[in-house]
C-alpha cells in the first residue's frame, strides 16, 4: 500500500511537471511567434520623405513644412495635371526610349508638389512582377526620373482653408521587358 501510494505521488508529480513544462513551452513559443512586427520607426505619415542632402535639391522648399503636406487624393480630386492625364502621359510616351532588357515590373516615383507647383524629394521604388524588390537597369530608371522631374503642369492643390498646399504625388510605371506599358495613377 505504501509503495503504491508513493508511486502514485511520484507519477502525479511527474505529470504535474510535464503539464507545467508543456504550458511553459507553449507560452514561450507563442511569445516568439507573437513578435509579428519588429519595432518600426514611423514618421508623421506613411510615405513621408524627410529632406536628404544627398538626394534632394536644397532649393526645393515646402511652403507649409513637413508636417502639413497632404496626399494627392485627400481633396477627392485625384491626380491633377494641366491637360489632364493625356498631357502627362505624352511626356513619357514621347520622352521614354525602350531599353533592351528582360526586366519587367513596376517603378514608383514619389515626390512632393509644393504650393507653387514645383516638385522635389523624389524617391524611387522598384519591384519585379511578383512584388519582390528589385533594381532595374539604370537607363530605365534614369529616363523616367528625368522626365518626371521635368514635368511642370502640376495643379496647385488647396487645403481646407482654401490655401495653396503641399502634397505628395506618385507615378507608377509598368515596365515590360524594358518598354513602358502603363502609367498610373
Amino acid at each position: 500500500m505504501r509503495v503504491s501510494q508513493c508511486a502514485f505521488v511520484w507519477i502525479s508529480r511527474l505529470l504535474a511537471s510535464a503539464i507545467i513544462l508543456v504550458l511553459l513551452l507553449t507560452t514561450t513559443h507563442c511569445k516568439t511567434e507573437q513578435s509579428a512586427t519588429s519595432p518600426a520607426k514611423y514618421l508623421r505619415w506613411v510615405g513621408d520623405s524627410e529632406f536628404d542632402a544627398a538626394l534632394d535639391d536644397s532649393a526645393f522648399a515646402l511652403c507649409q513644412g513637413d508636417q502639413k503636406a497632404i496626399q494627392y487624393f485627400n481633396d477627392g480630386r485625384g491626380m491633377e495635371y494641366e491637360g489632364e492625364k493625356p498631357a502627362l502621359d505624352r511626356a513619357f510616351w514621347e520622352g521614354y526610349k525602350p531599353v533592351e532588357s528582360k526586366e519587367s515590373g513596376l517603378i514608383r516615383i514619389r515626390f512632393i508638389v509644393n504650393c507653387k507647383g514645383e516638385t522635389g524629394r523624389f524617391r524611387v521604388m522598384e519591384m519585379e512582377k511578383d512584388y519582390a524588390e528589385t533594381s532595374f537597369d539604370s537607363e530605365i530608371v534614369d529616363q523616367l526620373l528625368r522626365i518626371t522631374k521635368a514635368l511642370d503642369g502640376w495643379v496647385v492643390k488647396r487645403d481646407r482653408d482654401d490655401e495653396p498646399t503641399d502634397y505628395y504625388q506618385y507615378l507608377i510605371f509598368k515596365i515590360e521587358k524594358g518598354a513602358l506599358k502603363e502609367i498610373l495613377p
Partner: protein
C-alpha cells in the same frame, strides 16, 4: 468573419462610426484575438496614414500576430501611397490569416492601384472557388468583383472571356448594376467589332448613369455605321457632359475606358476632317 469586416469599416476610414464586435472572438473562445481586436480599436479616430494609427495596429499584432484584420488595416496606407512592396507583405499576411475576408480586397487592390490584371483575376477566382455565396464588390463599391475580373481579362486581350463574364454578371437576378458596367460592356462589344450590340449597351449606360464616356463611345458606334451627324451629336454631348463633371471618376486612379477632354476634341477634329 463579419466581425472582421465591421472592424475594417471602422479603421480604414477614420470617420467610420461602426463599432467592432470583438466579443465574437470571446464567444468562439479565442481570447487572444479578442484582446488584439480590442487593442486595435485604438486606431479609431486616427488618420490611416498616421503614426498613431499604425502603432495601434502594431500593438494589436504584438498581442496576436495572427490577427489578420490588423494587417489589412495597416496595408491600406501603403497601398494608397503607392508602396507596393510593403503593401503586398502586409496584405499577404492578412490573406494568410483571414483568407475569405481579405482575398477579394487584395484582388481588387491589385487591379485598382497596380493594374496587376492576372494577380487580380487569380485572387478573385480563388475567392469564388472558396465560397458558395456572392463574392461581393471591390473596396470602393463601384464594381462587383466579377466585373473587375472581366475588365482585367479585357485588359489582357481576352475580350471574349471578358464579355462572357460581364454578360453573366449582368444577368444575375440579384445583381446591382454598377456605375459603369454597361459602359465597359459597350466598349468590349466595340472592340469585338459589334457596334450594334455596343450601342445597345451604351444606351443602357446612358439610361442608368449618363456619362461623357457613354456618348463618346456611342459616337464611335455611329461612326462605324457611317452616320456622321449622330457621331458629331454624341461627341458634342460628350463634351457638354464632360464640362459638367458627368464622367468616370475615382479619387485615387483613372478607370479603364475613361475618356478625357483631349480625346473628345481629337475625335471631333478627326470626324470633321473625315467628312
Amino acid at each position: 468573419m463579419k466581425i472582421a469586416l465591421t472592424f475594417f469599416a471602422l479603421c480604414i476610414g477614420a470617420s467610420v462610426l461602426a463599432q467592432p464586435n470583438c466579443q465574437a472572438f470571446l464567444y468562439y473562445g479565442d481570447t487572444l484575438k479578442y484582446e488584439a481586436c480590442e487593442k486595435a480599436k485604438e486606431c479609431k479616430g486616427h488618420y490611416q496614414f498616421s503614426k498613431e494609427y499604425q502603432q495601434a495596429l502594431d500593438a494589436a499584432l504584438e498581442i496576436d500576430s495572427t490577427f489578420g484584420p490588423a494587417y489589412e488595416s495597416k496595408s491600406t496606407a501603403y497601398l494608397k501611397s503607392g508602396d507596393f512592396l510593403t503593401w503586398k507583405r502586409l496584405i499577404d499576411k492578412a490573406v494568410y490569416y483571414n483568407e475569405e475576408e481579405s482575398l477579394g480586397y487584395r484582388g481588387w487592390c491589385r487591379y485598382q492601384f497596380f493594374r496587376d490584371y492576372q494577380g487580380a483575376i487569380d485572387d478573385i477566382e480563388r475567392l469564388d472557388g472558396l465560397v458558395d455565396h456572392d463574392i461581393g464588390y471591390g473596396a470602393n463599391g463601384d464594381y462587383h468583383l466579377h466585373m473587375a475580373r472581366a475588365i482585367c481579362y479585357k485588359a489582357l486581350g481576352q475580350k471574349e472571356k471578358a464579355l462572357e463574364i460581364m454578360e453573366m454578371q449582368l444577368a444575375q437576378p440579384d445583381n446591382h448594376v454598377g456605375l459603369y458596367d454597361y459602359l465597359h460592356l459597350g466598349v468590349v462589344y466595340l472592340e469585338l467589332d459589334d457596334p450594334d450590340k455596343a450601342a445597345e449597351a451604351l444606351e443602357k449606360q446612358i439610361e442608368h448613369n449618363d456619362l461623357a464616356e457613354a456618348h463618346f463611345y456611342l459616337a464611335r458606334c455611329f461612326e462605324a455605321r457611317g452616320d456622321w451627324e449622330q457621331t458629331m451629336l454624341h461627341l458634342e454631348e460628350a463634351k457638354r457632359l464632360y464640362a459638367q463633371q458627368r464622367r468616370m471618376a475615382d479619387g485615387y486612379m483613372h478607370y479603364d475606358d475613361k475618356v478625357y477632354l483631349q480625346d473628345i476634341l481629337e475625335a471631333q477634329a478627326a470626324v470633321s476632317n473625315a467628312k
